[in-house]
């Protein structure tokens, strides 16, 4: 089939050579890198509005803007626009040293003023920053030479992690104040590796390399990022040679094309699949929860359904995260699941019934995975009814604590801190948590403001252990992001899942 198709391709390419359409072919050297991206970019402001917290478009923002602190492909922080940072000894102040010699895309110099202005802007509730509750913990930002100092209104041990996370971008103060919000949307500038040359909404963005980039000029002078939301179309794009790089396609397609005409990388990213358990109905019974957790053969699901692309996890931490503890495990054990259910009077003939919600097509094989889980549950005596919901509905239900007893979701946490995984997902008072048990609230509560980093991490590990032992949530797997690319490009995957053109090099 494949061989056939290739020869047909060549034949047709030859006959089409005279055509005026001028489609690219694999053989050509890549002058202009074309990337087929999986989502549309709605807005160029990375600090306000819904786009700012949309993890799938952070890669686009990071091409044009710099974050306060650089995040390396393995998620560790490195000097970025800030070269040094830290707390005063009494934790009453933070200080940041600003990199010198950096210029904005319009040539004007980047200064400490810019940093202070940005931090003050997102701390102000009026601007509509969705992360205001973090940035608002700093106050009274001021510039001292190439340093920025701010007072700590409320101690947050993760504040510097947010500086390479959502909304942690630095915008040009002078330019933004001159052109206003609308003008900025029309012609955004940053300090990042690429400059926006042309932006066509719902279609593409053309980027030009920033020759003065402080991290060195990127390899490709011109990069076109096409927005191709349909996975089949993205695969067709790279398969036909119209695009050089694409991401997020069915793993079957990845396997089919990788090693054929195309090359590929598939690396784990900081995005996990999990099942929220709401402490209502059947889920108040610990036996049911534990049985549900033990009845899922995560490895079989990964191997059979995801073609092996995925990393089994038993806590909400992936191996890259700060609070990962390999000793916490919840093994697949069908017999134990049956035994646990029997203790509560359930069995295959008298199954416990509840509803499980899932998205469909939002993440790779999400719906299929839930179908497989329901199939595995059915064998031990759990009869779960599937309800598909859209991601928007999930957010609303979760914020209102109205999720079904079980709800499949994916959780991204590209800073790798336990507060932004276990913390927000499991802390009762947070609008993101649906588990309201007081014992857990009591355990997590003190950790928010814990100043001793080692103690803080150990505290979270204890929380994860408690959660695993009592099956308060069912972590499933860490996702692997498939990237297909032409052989002429070398792609470095970023564990945050952001596809970054300045990390791509000529082969």
């Amino acid at each position: 089939m494949n061989l056939n198709r290739r020869s047909l391709l060549k034949l047709s390419a030859a006959t089409m050579a005279a055509g005026t359409i001028g489609l690219p072919t694999f053989a050509q050297a890549i002058d202009e890198l074309v990337i087929a991206y999986n989502v549309n970019l709605p807005s160029w402001d990375p600090t306000v509005g819904p786009s700012a917290v949309n993890p799938t478009i952070q890669g686009l923002y990071q091409s044009v803007f710099d974050q306060y602190i650089l995040q390396q492909p393995d998620l560790t922080p490195a000097p970025g626009l800030l070269t040094e940072w830290g707390w005063s000894d009494d934790k009453k102040q933070v200080w940041m040293t600003v990199r010198e010699g950096v210029t904005w895309h319009d040539g004007s110099p980047f200064t400490a003023e810019d940093v202070a202005w940005n931090l003050a802007r997102v701390a102000n509730p009026e601007t509509g920053s969705p992360i205001q509750f973090v940035w608002g913990t700093l106050a009274n930002h001021r510039v001292e030479g190439n340093k920025v100092i701010a007072d700590v209104a409320q101690f947050d041990p993760t504040i510097f992690k947010w500086m390479y996370f959502l909304t942690g971008y630095v915008l040009p103060k002078v330019y933004y104040e001159k052109v206003g919000a609308e003008g900025f949307e029309a012609a955004p500038i940053g300090t990042g590796p690429y400059m926006v040359e042309k932006f066509e909404r719902n279609a593409f963005v053309r980027l030009k390399a920033n020759a003065n980039y402080w991290g060195g000029k990127p390899d490709f002078d011109t990069v076109t990022i096409k927005f191709v939301p349909d996975a089949a179309a993205r695969v067709a794009e790279v398969e036909s040679g119209n695009s050089h790089v694409t991401l997020e396609m069915p793993y079957e397609e990845y396997d089919r094309l990788k090693g054929g005409p195309l090359a590929g990388v598939a690396a784990p990213i900081s995005d996990i699949g999990m099942i929220f358990l709401n402490d209502i109905e059947a889920m108040t019974d610990p036996n049911v929860r534990k049985a549900a957790a033990h009845a899922i053969d995560k490895q079989a699901i990964i191997d059979r359904l995801l073609s092996g692309y995925g990393v089994k996890i038993d806590t909400l931490q992936t191996p890259e995260y700060d609070a990962y503890d390999a000793s916490i495990t919840v093994p697949y054990d069908e017999a134990k699941a049956i035994e646990l259910l029997a203790a509560s009077g359930y069995g295959p003939d008298n199954p416990v019934k509840f509803k499980i919600q899932t998205t469909k097509g939002f993440k790779p094989k999400d719906y299929e995975m839930v179908q497989a889980i329901v199939g595995l549950w059915r064998k031990v005596g759990i009869e779960a009814e599937i309800e598909v919901y859209e991601i928007a509905k999930h957010y609303e239900l979760r914020a209102a604590d109205q999720l079904a007893p079980a709800a499949f979701y994916n959780w991204g946490n590209s800073v790798g801190d336990p507060t932004t995984s276990t913390g927000f997902a499991m802390f009762g008072p947070s609008p993101h948590s649906v588990w309201d048990g007081d014992d857990l609230i009591g355990m997590i509560g003190p950790l928010w403001g814990e100043a001793d980093e080692a103690k803080r991490i150990e505290g979270w590990k204890a929380v994860d252990k408690y959660i695993a032992e009592n099956a308060l949530v069912i972590p499933l797997l860490q996702y692997v992001q498939p990237i297909l690319h032409a052989p002429g490009v070398v792609v470095t995957p970023h564990a945050s899942g952001a596809l970054l053109p300045h990390l791509m090099k000529r082969a």
Partner: protein, 277 residues
Amino acid sequence: MLRRRAGLRLWLSALWLAALVLAALLAPWISPRDPLTQDLFLARLPPFWVAGTEPGYLLGTDSLGRDVLSRILHGARVALLVALVAGGITCLIGATFGLLAGFLRGWVDMVISRLIDIWMAFPPVLFSILLIAVLGPSLTSIIIAIVVIDWTRFARVVRAEAMAQGAMDYVASARVAGRGRIGTMLREILPNVLPTVVVLLTLEMGIAVIVEAILSFVNLSISTDDPTWGGMISEGRTSIYQAWWVLVFPLIALFLTVLAFSQLGEGLKDRFDPVLR
């Protein structure tokens, strides 16, 4: 010659639909396997004539190891249910409105016509996506969405037809003979509009089956793991190179069913000519 071919098409369509009804009714007994039973270790078995299959899975298995044939047979239930219920209710509501507007005229016609205009101004796909977002994806939602969007199809045609019939002499004579307005409508107009309605209904059933497939494509169809053809097609499309049978067989079933409904409608239209011209 032509007439015979038209007849043949009619019969073939009726035959396929009859077979489908049987399959749907008897699905639990004739399916070789439970359509929901999964076996991840028997996933993506090819159909029986291809090497590497397991006996008992005639048309292969999908990526969860479920039997494709059994799922198609059970999927026929959903397809027919959607076709019959959605088609039926759409027809009932649309035809009633159309009949009332076309025969009673006056302010009734004005209100209904305006309503039709407003409805026809909604982009149908977008509107159904919104509707299903409101109702949550389920069989009932699909049926409601089809009814809400397509009733105007019936209303418009039946209204025009009822208007034309209302102008005929026999209606006048029925009125002269002393029959009331509603009586005339039901006894004189309705039987003459019926052939049109039947043809539209047949066509609508085919449309309903297609709509389910389209909504599956945007991941908005039935949410349980009950098999639907549209759902199978959208699942199968991610692995066409690895397991084409997961896509192709339900697609054939869908295709033949829609074709049968439309050919049946066309055939009936020819039969009922010249009413429908």
